[in-house]
């Protein structure tokens, strides 16, 4: 299979528009990428502070082409949280937008790429990185946990190919960015479009900005993706009244949208002649594990559909036995070439090869209908999705603890509940956590409790908190 970053296949085709205000061909990308590649060494780790821009994309492509290992991080990651990552991986290079003055003092500038700077760090630690590892992704971009997902070259190319197949992406397709490049879903849109020689509109603009829609129309964008929050936003912006003749399909993943909203959007899309794809995945599966074909969008509202081409689902009970019967809830397990190699906590782990053998226990409970459609019923572990991002509740507790607050975290999608005994103005806790994690403070709800309920062995009793709203 030709890798999607083998740009030589498409040379004169347009790949990027409005990045910003510039038409860039695949040939341009190759030339600009080689400028960066000259400065990189294969198998060395590069921290890329991602934005949706040509410079950021170039850094990522240059790493893939040179076989350097990129760690994709949100560009605004707080310096304190970043410190843990730096200490764990001691990367040879940093690639960041120039506004991050704080990163500039830590090494020697090698070259400038648009508004990005490639820096050689002072780290001298030499370590082995397994030849299969292509990139490292965070599982929760905003808590700065050093735990990263190891994705191989095969993972990236397989998923890009599979996605381009079931979405039927053609060279004349054009996606507009709506999510960070450091987010598996956002990245998969880029990879799958490059795979077939299609084009991208990369912008940091958001849907609430007038210019976003102007550019979408001007560039004749054919598709975009979104997490549940995106669709709540789109509803508020009256998507049903918008005139977007170039849009052929839209996709939704990053959490459950809910039957009501899904049905609304499917009906609006049907009226507009736009296809709506519900999808499901995880960073641990590169991005995508399943999709619901638009033909079934209305009939199977609430379903995540079926495994992507090349993938396979099954359900297991508590004893890890395969469940044969339909309509029976079990843990969703997936097999495919897009399943990651495993996790890494520190640079020493990078010499390790594949630990998963292509099988992923998703950590989600699901059931399968008689006719083979899957539906997610709930989550196993301690995390929630806040505006599409996976947030580990235990990690939030650790961060709060470091900030000096005693608290316990619970939550549902888009709402992080902080139960705290610290008698401070709740704006302060919200503000501190919000700033550290880069998550809008509206996602936090602070509830005061007298003490943290614990069992006799000291374990936190989370279910005792569920009923409490406040103890003034």
């Amino acid at each position: 299979m030709t890798p999607f970053y083998h740009l030589e296949s498409f040379l004169e085709e347009t790949v990027l528009i409005y990045a910003p205000n510039e038409l860039i061909t695949y040939r341009d990308l190759i030339e600009r990428s080689s400028d960066i590649e000259q400065n990189l060494e294969p198998r060395h780790v590069v921290f890329i502070f991602c934005q949706n821009s040509d410079s950021s994309l170039l850094g990522y492509l240059a790493c893939l082409r040179k076989k350097s290992v990129a760690v994709l991080i949100p560009h605004q990651l707080d310096k304190t949280l970043l410190a843990g990552l730096l200490e764990a991986y001691k990367p040879s290079y940093l690639y960041f937008p120039s506004y991050r003055q704080d990163l500039n003092e830590s090494g020697k500038e090698l070259c400038k790429v648009g508004n990005y700077i490639l820096l050689k760090t002072m780290y001298q630690t030499h370590y082995e990185v397994h030849p299969d590892i292509a990139i490292l992704m965070t599982t929760s971009g905003s808590t700065g946990s050093p735990k990263l997902v190891k994705l191989s070259y095969l993972n990236l190319n397989e998923n890009a190919k599979s996605i381009s197949e079931y979405l039927n992406i053609k060279p004349n397709d054009r996606a507009i960015s709506t999510m960070p490049m450091s987010y598996a879903y956002g990245l998969s849109i880029i990879n799958s479009h490059l795979m077939v020689g299609a084009s991208l509109v990369l912008t940091e603009l958001s849907m609430v900005e007038h210019s976003f829609w102007e550019i979408l129309k001007m560039c004749e964008v054919t598709n975009f993706g979104g997490v549940p929050y995106t669709y709540k936003l789109l509803k508020r912006l009256k998507f049903n009244k918008m005139n977007l003749p170039s849009i052929k399909y839209i996709t939704q993943a990053g959490g459950k949208l809910g039957s009501e909203l899904t049905r609304e959007f499917v009906e609006v899309c049907n009226k507009k002649g736009v296809q709506f794809y519900t999808m499901y995945g995880q960073t641990e599966a590169t991005a995508r594990m399943s999709y619901l074909h638009p033909n079934f969008a209305l009939a199977k509202v609430g379903s995540i559909g079926q495994a992507i081409p090349g993938g396979e689902f099954w359900l297991e009970d508590e004893n890890r036995n395969k469940i044969r019967d339909p309509e029976t809830i079990g843990e969703l397990v997936y097999r495919g070439k897009n399943v990651c190699m495993g996790y890494t906590q520190r640079f020493e782990d990078l010499s390790q090869g594949d630990e998963n053998g292509g099988v992923l226990r998703t950590g989600d409970f699901a059931k399968r209908s008689e006719d083979g459609f899957y539906e997610i019923m709930g989550r196993k572990n301690r995390f929630v999705k806040i505006y599409g991002h996976r947030i580990n509740l235990d990690e939030v507790e650790t961060i709060a603890d470091q900030l000096g607050y005693e608290c316990v975290c619970l939550g549902v999608d888009d709402v992080l509940k902080i139960y705290t005994t610290s008698k401070l103005k709740d704006q302060k806790i919200k503000g501190d956590l919000s700033r550290m994690m880069g998550i809008h403070h509206s996602a936090f709800e602070v509830i005061y409790i007298d003490s943290i309920p614990r069992s006799s062995s000291g374990k936190i009793l989370y279910n005792k908190l569920n009923g409490i709203t406040d103890s003034a």
């Binding site: 958001s206 849907m207 609430v208 900005e209 007038h210 829609w213 929050y229 936003l233 508020r236 912006l237 009256k238 009244k241 505006y387 704006q427 919200k430 503000g431 919000s434 700033r435 809008h440 403070h441 509206s442 996602a443």
Partner: protein
């Protein structure tokens, strides 16, 4: 409370900022809390505060603290 005072209060609460931050340069993306999520929170709070329903075009054009004066005037809210 005057309309202006109500308007200011919404901004201060939604964005966790002080009265001194309410200047002409206060616009979308100029501060961390006025991102797309903060924006939707602002719109919802203004609608509730003044009992109005803001048009999509106005939601998208509401790009700054100052611009808001113009926009709310369309809904009969004089600031």
């Amino acid at each position: 409370m005057t309309n202006r005072e109500k308007y200011d209060k919404v901004f201060m609460e939604i964005f966790s900022i002080e009265k001194t931050d309410l200047k002409d340069s206060l616009e979308y993306n100029s501060i961390m809390s006025w991102d797309s999520i903060g924006h939707m929170g602002l719109i919802a709070a203004l609608e509730e505060c003044f009992n109005i329903s803001i048009d999509t075009d106005d939601v998208i054009n509401f790009s700054s603290y100052k611009k808001g004066f113009e926009i709310l005037a369309k809904y009969g809210v004089e600031l």
